[in-house]
């Protein structure tokens, strides 16, 4: 059972028998009034998106999803294909179902596939993934101020902010939960 203070982006809930994931979360408190918890959530079965506002005191059921360890094989026209290495069973997930997670999939990566009544509805990635930068402005000599950042694009097409000293061609570590840069990776 969750209460309002558990609500956050990425939390999975069961509402009227169907699993939902919170894709945007905002806590507001008008003046000195009662707290409001504004959620944008996606139905994990049909992809529909809803806005809901909850007040403190409400409770929520956990989404009873099962995890299956699987390996990411490849991407084709049908979507992203994963395989259970014990049973060799394959599951295909669409880019829409994966959301931003598709940017962080690497061939042969071990992931957990979330299933609901046997249907694959999402993926849990390792917390950190290493990806190579394919596009970034060069480091300007003299820009030594710590904390300066610039946009960079990694091999999967994902764009994020990195420190200004990170160069094109370098491998970086990304936190898949936040989508943010963590550190450079020495090869």
């Amino acid at each position: 059972m969750y209460t309002c203070s558990d609500l956050r982006k990425g939390l999975k809930l069961m509402i009227e028998g169907e699993p939902y994931v919170i894709i945007q979360f905002d806590f507001t408190k008008p003046g000195k009034g009662q707290a409001l918890y504004k959620c944008k959530m996606r139905n994990m079965l049909n992809g529909n998106i809803y806005d809901r506002t909850y007040r403190s005191g409400e409770t929520f059921d956990e989404a009873n999803l099962e995890d299956r360890s699987m390996q990411f094989l490849y991407k084709d026209e049908s979507g992203y294909v994963f395989m259970d290495q014990q049973s060799y069973e394959q599951i295909t997930l669409s880019e829409e179902t994966l959301g931003d997670d598709h940017f962080f999939l690497i061939d042969n990566m071990e992931v957990k596939i979330l299933t609901f009544n046997g249907q694959g509805i999402g993926v849990t990635l390792p917390n950190f993934v290493n990806l190579r930068i394919v596009k970034a402005d060069p480091w300007i000599k003299g820009d030594t101020a710590a904390g300066n950042s610039k946009p960079a694009t990694v091999e999967s097409g994902y764009t994020l902010q990195v420190p200004s000293f990170v160069e094109e061609g370098e491998m970086i570590q990304i936190d898949t939960r936040t989508g943010e840069y963590v550190t450079r990776v020495k090869e």
Binding site: F27, K29, G33, L36, K38, G147, F165, E180, V185, K186
Partner: protein
């Protein structure tokens, strides 16, 4: 996976990337201090750990032994007013449980200032002056939206705001106990979009420490400042009637306890000394949110070094 390099410049990026913003933050704090000091306000520091806060139905204090951490420094500030300090300000950390979001930290920085002989209209002008001192160009761009800060700002009564923006009138909202929900969902996001909005004259039951309007006691002299949909400050003409203050505290404390919150004693020393307090106005302004606006930051996490999750 090869080990991450850990040379000196690399550091911890979530912390390191905040350096430019934290420099800005320090400069803004310095400018705020200069603004009040040059106007004859005394900067004070009062204890963060206190026997009890002013009870408020929806603000949850954090326990600290048998005492608690302050949710606002207002009780000590007003005791100083009552003792004859006419102009005071303080910049301090306050603590409110269960408040966490894009614009909320459970430990945050509040600026409060108090002035004897002033009322809430005087403090509305203080807000205009303070922003003009911080942004002499009188223009602010936040998240791609530009806003003009030239005084006078929009002054909008709460009743008019319901008529303009809400699906029902103020009276209906109060009757159906939907005031907060409508304020938070239908009204607040639309306030202060072209220039700042000073939303004023709250229903008396929504202003536990504010003086009622002499001309219409259903309302209290309380106002809030909004810029680009963000609530920045809450001020009021202070209630100085000790007996009425006690009744209102008892009502709020009853609401707190019925909501299952830890009971705290009423702040008796404050209530005793309130009788000696001159007419005055006081206001609290969220420093972290102000810095979000001034540094074009999208999240409150970006303007403090350590949001709780980084600890």
């Amino acid at each position: 996976m090869s080990p991450a390099s850990k040379n000196k410049t690399e550091g911890c990026w979530p912390l390191a990337r905040k350096q430019p913003t934290l420099w800005n933050r320090a400069r803004i704090l310095q400018s705020i201090r200069d603004f009040f000091t040059s106007r004859g306000f005394l900067e004070v520091e009062t204890p963060q750990r206190i026997p009890s806060n002013a009870p408020e139905a929806y603000i949850v204090p954090l326990a600290s032994g048998a005492w608690c951490l302050q949710t606002s420094p207002e009780l000590c500030m007003k005791r100083l007013l009552a003792a004859g300090y006419p102009k005071l300000f303080q910049i301090c950390h306050c603590f409110r449980q269960e408040e966490r979001g894009n614009r909320h930290l459970p430990e945050f920085t509040l600026l409060e200032w108090y002035e004897a002989g002033a009322d809430y209209r005087r403090q509305m002008r203080d807000c205009e002056d303070l922003l003009a001192a911080l942004l002499p160009e009188l223009e602010l761009t936040w998240r791609g939206r530009r806003i003009n800060l030239m005084p006078p700002w929009e002054r909008l009564s709460v009743a008019d705001a319901f008529d303009s923006y809400a699906s029902c009138s103020l009276e209906e909202a109060l009757e159906e106990e939907r005031f907060d929900a409508i304020m938070g969902v239908e009204i607040e996001p639309r306030l202060g979009m072209l220039r700042p909005t000073l939303l004023y004259d709250y229903p008396a039951e929504k202003a536990a420490l504010a003086r009622r309007k002499a001309s219409d006691p259903r309302f209290a002299e309380r106002f809030e400042l909004y810029i680009l949909g963000m609530e920045l400050a809450n001020g009021f003409s202070e209630l100085t009637d000790s007996q009425e203050q006690r009744r209102r505290f008892e009502d709020e404390e009853r609401l707190r306890r019925s909501g299952g919150q830890t009971p705290y004693p009423l702040p008796e020393k404050f209530l005793e000394e309130l009788a000696a307090m001159p007419n005055a106005a006081g206001i609290a302004l969220g420093i972290d949110r102000l810095i979000m606006l001034l540094t074009d930051s999208s999240s409150i996490d970006d303007v403090v070094a350590f949001p709780p999750e980084l600890l």
